[in-house]
Symmetry: C2
Subunit: 216 residues, 2 copies
Amino acid sequence: MMMTTRSSEQTTAAHDRLYRALRTRIMHGELAPGQALTLRGIGRDYDVSMTPAREALRRLVAEGALFLSSSGRVSTPELSNERIEELAALRALLEVELASRALPRAHMALIDRLQTINATIGEVVVNRDAVGYIRTNLEFHRTLYLRAQAPAMLAMAETVWLQLGPTMRALYGRLRRTDPPHYHKLIIAALKAGDEPGLRLAVRSDVTQGLRMLAG
Amino acid sequence: MMMTTRSSEQTTAAHDRLYRALRTRIMHGELAPGQALTLRGIGRDYDVSMTPAREALRRLVAEGALFLSSSGRVSTPELSNERIEELAALRALLEVELASRALPRAHMALIDRLQTINATIGEVVVNRDAVGYIRTNLEFHRTLYLRAQAPAMLAMAETVWLQLGPTMRALYGRLRRTDPPHYHKLIIAALKAGDEPGLRLAVRSDVTQGLRMLAG
DNA sequence: GGCGCGCAACTGTGATCACAACGCCCCCAT
DNA sequence: ATGGGGGCGTTGTGATCACAGTTGCGCGCC
């Protein structure tokens, strides 16, 4: 079995380490749509055998993060426009609810953190760093939704993010964004004001904005 | 490799057959909460080795259908009341949207089929057949939601059903139900009348009703 | 120069094995 | 009678292998 533990770092299983690493890369848009992944290739890259590689990949397939061809090959998905629209609608549905549940618990410390993250987005965006933009944007949303105290709902929202990861990378590539998302400011303002309808609208608008440039 | 194909029945992979069989059993409430499953046990039951059994189980864990203990053991989940409430809220969120999207496409043939299924629920319920009740009830909902033409959203709703499967079995056991769900009739009536607000309310009520008896 | 065709390398699948860790149960001491 | 400790059986993990299907590339033919 070889036991490739380098020193005494982690007690977590190898397939779990693999899964986490790949999941993060996909969600942050490090992989382009249609990118192929092989068991032996993953195994080589992460210095494990096919077995844990297979488990990590199949788990990501189960979550919709990867596409499984009829012959068993896995790759990042190339989503149809209809699928993208549906996933955006799901994001809106779930995230509006999460934001609404977070609102009563949103104290000033949270709003400060959101403003800090939003400032980081502004820095990242001028460097044309697609991965950094996606990562920081998701961090903004997750920070807010964590306050909702609804783990199952948040997990489901993250699954949608995961499915959209490669597509968002491609989307960002053809998009000449030059300023941080406008609706984030509206979200923060609605949080400060305790304005629930305004918050719902702002979140819905922020989530659906990216879609519009693709369909249009 | 032994190739256990009995005659020439299926070309589908063994782990996929396993996955489908277990998923159906869990979703229909054939397994009680806390039921333990072992790789070698599953392999013995379905006449395969540990490898496909492991894949099927890990996939179900990824979907939240099974619980993975810290030591790697898998079992059906024993949900906390908070978790149940959250999953019910998710059902309401997703299914209200699915029903709303199905409404404009709901023709008479669909309504007839829903009424037929609803009649079947009435038959099943007098036999105190928990599995049959859950299966037919889900068939009622799925038949309606299929018209929404929103596969990703439907898949997410099914994932929630899957997570609730064992709990719904336990719920049904302690519940002395004697008649078919009242709100199904309201759903059908709202569909006939093209009444969208009424439909949303009826679906939300139907989905949340089961929860109330647990919390109460 | 373009178009098939066939072969070789590659990929996923499932079986099997070695190993370590966990759990359970029985036995003994108090 | 009861509580704790030790040992054995069971469980998951990861590596490896044989095999079959697929891919794709290069060679030869038209």
